[in-house]
């Protein structure tokens, strides 16, 4: 029973107000992309035991999509941020580094490096 901060509403929203949307920071691959890229876009989802970036929608609330950085093994939430970005904000990445030094996720890692 998660509770996540909605960066739009400013509330700590109960999981029952939210809808999980899977992996964050996807790059859409449309016509012209390779089979490999298209497959990865739709199916090859990150599934780490540890730091993970994912999408949530505050569906029973302001209706906005946001991103969360969360540990899938401890459920610790390092931070949430609006979905209108292609990479996690530096502050979020720093917050993760403080708790999980040496973390990486896809191409992202400690901003100091």
């Amino acid at each position: 029973m998660l509770i996540l901060h909605c960066p739009y509403c400013g509330v700590m929203a109960d999981e029952t107000e939210l809808h999980g949307g899977g992996e964050a920071h996807l790059t859409r691959h449309g016509p012209g992309s390779s089979d490999e890229d298209f497959h990865d876009y739709l199916f090859a989802k990150e599934n780490p035991r540890g730091v993970h970036f994912e999408r949530w929608r505050h569906v029973q609330g302001c209706g906005k999509w946001f991103h969360a950085a969360r540990d899938t093994a401890t459920l610790e939430v390092f931070g949430t941020y609006p979905a209108q970005t292609t990479e996690p904000p530096k502050a979020i990445r720093k917050a993760i580094t403080a708790k999980r030094p040496g973390w990486t996720w896809r191409g992202f890692s400690d901003p100091a490096k």
Binding site: H39, F43, P48, H52, A73
Partner: protein, 414 residues
């Protein structure tokens, strides 16, 4: 192996059961095996068993990081059925169901397969059509199912409320040879039989790396040292993604927590398994008398194996609506199991980009019922390089857009 029987028990009773030996041995690993199976859950042990039984491959180790049968094998709701819509699913689940029928005798271990019948309620017109279609498909697949009318539903399940204010029961898809089994016993029975064939079941041993040479597997590193092998089967529900990464490839799988609960035990009141998919609840009664209830999956990646609450809530209210007497029972225990979900919610039984490495995972919510069939098919795949039961379950099907989607019976209407 000491044969189990009533006579053996009677003999042992005379000496207060002091003569029973170990059900399986727990040896230290050898330097090398023909085949290593990672994961001593039901599927992994079954794979080893059929490698030996069907292909004579017995130089096998089953490596388990925890205790055998300690994962989803012991956390599921024990339902066994094969009334699937799509041909590839029906094939492997029906194979599985038929193996369950003789499993106790095959293993000389009573797994209490109880062919009490599984009923899937149709509560909307769309579900009626969906299950009629399934019944048609099953008839051609050699799976014995029937679409039954409400009166027969009530006869089979006296505690059901046919006329709920929200979703009256319009009929049901009924598979009378489906049922339940004692989940732990399946793992224990296979373990004992594997051990008896000379296979090594190595518990408390984690595989930390998969060693490869020239794109081919040569062995694994474990917490009990390096072990060589010619072939490697990864059968680690809930951890498939993590193990695949150690073998150097990615899987189209996500891990989520699936919720389940049981009530306090009561005297027998329901002889069949009932699944109500419109309202998201299913229930059966264990031999101990507990009502065994399956809930939904959390909508986010999760490795905690902890119970969550709101899916339980949704399930319980569905059951109270469908079986009003449930209202005055009590929830005894709830838990979560980590299940692997693929892009089409069907499993992956497949070769992998690493030669000699085979993957069996992604069973989602359907793993337990598939245990023997999955082991049978996986053994054939590993021994022969292909199996008609696994051909459609390749990990590359997603790239082609060739899905095995079982959710279609619950189509959305107008």
């Amino acid at each position: 192996m000491r044969r189990y029987s009533a006579f053996a028990i009677a003999r042992e009773a005379a000496r207060y059961h002091s003569g029973w030996g170990k059900a399986w041995s727990s040896p230290e690993p050898k330097k090398k095996y023909d085949v290593i199976i990672v994961g001593a859950g039901g599927h992994g042990l079954a794979t080893a068993f059929y490698l030996g039984r069907n292909f004579g491959i017995t130089n096998v180790a089953v490596i388990e990081k925890g205790w055998l049968g300690g994962g989803n094998t012991g956390r599921n709701t024990t339902i066994i059925r094969s009334n699937y819509l799509q041909d590839p699913s029906a094939a492997i689940y029906e194979k599985s169901r038929s193996l369950y029928e003789t499993m106790s005798q095959d293993l000389n271990y009573n797994v209490m397969f109880s062919p009490r019948g599984v009923m899937m309620l149709a509560q909307t017109q769309a579900e009626v059509r969906g299950y009629l279609r399934t019944a048609q498909a099953n008839a051609l697949q050699g799976v014995s199912t029937r679409f039954i009318q409400p009166a027969e539903v009530k006869k089979l399940v006296p505690i059901i409320n046919l006329d709920g204010p929200r979703y009256p029961v319009l009929g049901a898809l009924w598979q009378d040879r489906a049922g339940t089994a004692r989940h732990d016993a399946v793992a224990w029975g296979y373990a004992r039989a594997c051990s008896d064939m000379g296979m090594d079941i190595i518990q408390q041993c984690e595989v930390t790396a998969v060693r490869r040479e020239g794109g081919r597997v040569v062995g694994v590193d474990t917490t009990k040292g390096a072990i060589d092998c010619d072939k490697l089967g990864i059968v680690v529900a809930g951890n498939s993604g993590v193990m695949a990464e150690r073998a150097g490839f990615r899987l189209p799988i996500e891990s989520v927590a699936l919720q389940a609960l049981v009530s306090e035990p009561i005297k027998p009141c329901m002889d069949v398994v009932v699944m109500a998919n419109t309202v998201h609840g299913y229930m059966s009664q264990s031999d101990k008398g507990e009502m065994v209830i399956g809930g939904g999956a959390d909508g986010f990646n999760n490795y905690t194996q902890r119970g969550s609450f709101h899916h339980i809530e949704e399930t319980v209210r569905a059951l109270v609506e469908t079986f009003p007497m449930v209202s005055r029972l009590k929830m005894l225990r709830q838990w979560g199991g980590i299940v692997d979900m693929t892009g089409d919610r069907s499993p992956i039984l497949s070769k992998t980009p690493v030669e000699g490495v085979f993957i069996n995972g992604g069973w989602g919510t359907g793993g337990f019922k598939a245990t023997p069939g999955s082991g049978w098919a996986m053994a054939e795949l590993m021994a022969k390089g292909h199996s008609p039961l696994t051909d459609e379950f390749s990990m590359w099907r997603f790239k082609e857009g060739k899905f095995i989607d079982e959710s279609v019976a619950a189509g959305v209407a107008h």
